[in-house]
Symmetry: C2
Subunit: 452 residues, 2 copies
């Protein structure tokens, strides 16, 4: 890899001077992540120019490497004609992903300009969400009718070697004369057989397959159980319609895990890149922050109800944020463990009671430990046993409440078919804040005579 101190600058210069060759060379020389970074830093206008300057297949590879949202944004700035030329060269699963992110009118305009066969494939895949087999599969696969023999397959492979290079072939599929999938051929078995052997003798019969609506979770589990490179997708009639590659499933899971992190902090749609416009980034973050401020005010209104107690024992104001924050942290640990166990498939939504029990035991140990620690500190600071008791009891009780709620909320949300990443945090924090404030201030009110 050559040293490029400022690849984005170099690329911009090549675009400004309309030097197509230099731009192409610049992209080709960069590692994929570097070229993505450089392209994302260009203005929309420069990006469009770059795409029209590059050979279509190079532009297509670049498009496949960009995050989907950015690829769609880029395509939306091209003419339908230019976009179609490039999308013709993109793999069918990515075609569909990019086109589904455009407005229906834009997508239709591009589809009309694409090669009819490519457009049909893309239209078919666009009907399915990105997290089911129909949306993850590719249409580029090999299939032969069961009456073929090994020699037929080998000569087809030899004659179309160039076309098939793009297919990442590991298996060939065998169909009955009237359509349904009946078997799978492994390339290495072809290697070891006589040319006259019938593929129906060589194939693995009744192959595993999935249907168009099989969800990502089940596909993960499938590849977890079977060390295959791909699984055929069949429609309601058993006809082969596509292949889901293991890579596509692993990549989709990885993308999901990284989006979960963003959703947990309340970024709308789980997607933000700093190359997006400020307005959009601001809006996506604000939409959750403005709900959060309402929840915060609701929790803090508990404090307002106990103003008299607080005025009498102002030291409590120091402990309120400590207790609510510490319980929030303990609860979030339980949320994270539940989210991970859910994603690893180690726990089911129906097992909330088991989780409650498991969390309660950790909650009691940690709650009592932390409560005693903070209670002793409060006592040493003000020399009041009563203050120590209030603080210790409140933190211990609130920690137990927080871990129990934190452990169960993701399971309950997931059982209700809601996204646990999105709502677990706010629900937890609001409850622990309210409970924390209420515990400290009501205990203090009850023990007021020993506190003043």
């Amino acid at each position: 890899m050559t040293d490029h101190p400022q690849p984005a600058e170099e690329l911009r210069a090549a675009i400004t001077s309309q030097d197509a060759e230099a731009a192409d060379l610049c992209i080709e020389e960069l590692a994929s992540a570097d070229s993505v970074r450089a392209v994302l830093r260009l203005s929309d206008n420069d990006q469009s120019q770059l795409m029209t300057m590059l050979p279509n297949d190079h532009a297509a590879s670049l498009l496949e490497e960009l995050p989907e949202s950015e690829a769609a944004n880029l395509v939306s700035h091209l003419t339908a004609d230019q976009a179609a030329d490039i999308l013709n060269e993109v793999n069918s699963d990515e075609q569909a992903d990019i086109l589904s992110r455009l407005s229906a009118a834009d997508a239709e305009a591009i589809l009309r300009e694409m090669e009819p066969e490519e457009a049909d494939d893309a239209r078919r895949l666009m009907q399915y969400a990105g997290d089911v087999a129909g949306g993850l599969m590719i249409s580029e696969y090999l299939s032969y009718v069961e009456s073929s023999c090994v020699e037929d397959v080998l000569s087809d492979l030899r004659n179309h070697a160039a076309d098939y290079a793009r297919y990442q072939v590991q298996y060939a599929y065998v169909t009955a004369q009237d359509g349904p999938l009946v078997g799978v051929l492994r390339l290495r078995d072809l290697l070891l057989s006589k040319p006259g052997t019938s593929v129906s003798d060589l194939m693995i019969r009744d192959p595993e397959s999935v249907n168009l609506l099989t969800p990502l979770r089940d596909l993960e589990q499938f590849f977890d159980r079977h060390p295959y490179f791909g699984v055929p997708v069949t429609d309601a009639n058993g006809t082969l319609v596509g292949v889901v590659r293991q890579n596509a499933v692993l990549e989709a899971s990885e993308e999901l895990a990284s989006q979960t992190l963003l959703k947990l902090t309340g970024i709308l749609g789980g997607e933000e890149l700093r190359t997006m416009p400020v307005r959009l980034r601001s809006f996506r973050r604000l939409s959750w922050l403005s709900i959060n401020i309402v929840l915060n005010i609701a929790a803090a209104s508990v404090i307002a109800m106990y103003q008299e107690t607080l005025e009498a024992v102002i030291a409590l104001a120091v402990f309120l944020p400590i207790i609510s924050d510490m319980s929030g942290c303990s609860g979030n640990q339980a949320v994270a463990v539940s989210m991970r166990e859910l994603s690893l498939g180690l726990v089911k939504p129906s097992e909330a009671f088991r989780v409650l029990w498991k969390e309660a035991s950790v909650g009691i140990i940690n709650g009592v430990t932390l409560g005693l620690l903070l209670g002793v500190i409060a006592f040493l600071w003000k020399g009041q046993i009563a203050l120590g008791i209030v603080v210790a009891t409140a933190l211990a009780a609130n920690t137990i409440i927080a871990v129990c709620i934190g452990g169960c909320v993701p399971l309950l949300l997931s059982g209700l078919k809601q996204d646990p990443a999105l709502a677990s945090g706010p629900i937890l924090t609001t409850i622990t804040d309210m409970c924390g404030f209420l515990l400290v201030l009501s205990l203090a009110t009850a023990m007021l005579q020993w506190l003043v």
Copy 2:
């Protein structure tokens, strides 16, 4: 899949009655995730019994499916002899991962009982961390000297078909007579060639390779650029020593992403399963919580310094937790975006200034919006313009500070080769709490005459 209401119960019954066949059948019938869940719910003792009851290769598959920490725990409860019999059947990369988690003495005892060849492979891989090529590679691959011809390769494949089934063969590697890697053969090219062709005419020369210490990040980038199923690993002399499969890299990245979530909430080592002992789970969570309580007390001590102001304007106590929590949320959004951009390779640690600038613009918009909102609420509640101004200014300023710090801290930590997942949260929250309290209370002190 048959319906198993309580697979763990069924399994436990089979173990208690020493019915090896029933136990084996029970595991085989379950989907991988279900069998993992069932096994993890058994006591350590039942788990050990199960492993000795199953045929060694079935026990080995089960071991490969368990999370590594649990697999190691299970192996540690077997005799060295039993463990060795099972580990002989496990893939070399998993062997090394499991053995490295045991005490050196336990691992050595097992290695002595293993087949010498398997033990040598495992010893070699154990020298390397799990996130470099040396620790991710497998030793099961095909290699031929360059003087071989296609017929030699095909007859070797035919003669060892059973052994090679475990190799997930996609490529064969070609070495010079004296050792160094000189080429790669694709199976499909073997398919299309005459038996007498020399492999040196057919192979792809000067193949891409990585070395033993190539880090996971670079391997991800490699497979991002090259659509290969594996990459050969060579030592300092250019000799082929192993193969890193694309799957192993994707799985390691996925595992890392899910551990990041746990680390962010401060669970030591990024690993907790509810099947672990309560003592351990408690300790791992407490170690971070006890640091957090110190940070919290430090932040809250700011409140203690302004007790007089607070006593004079008790309404401020209601806004302190709102302002610190809201800024914390805004900052955590920026942390999550930076973590994701780092993991996607879209930003480098040296670009902290660019991130600062990008965050400042979002921070100003969101800070002013939220500040105005809360300021108006404060004014409406108490009818004091001064209270509204204090609250609005403090929240706006603290939001800007929080997003700038939140965006940059992960980059700075990553630049200092520290794990950004572990420390970003606590650093951010402590600073935003302190700044928030300080802003509200110092502003209020300055404007005290209009507030009382």
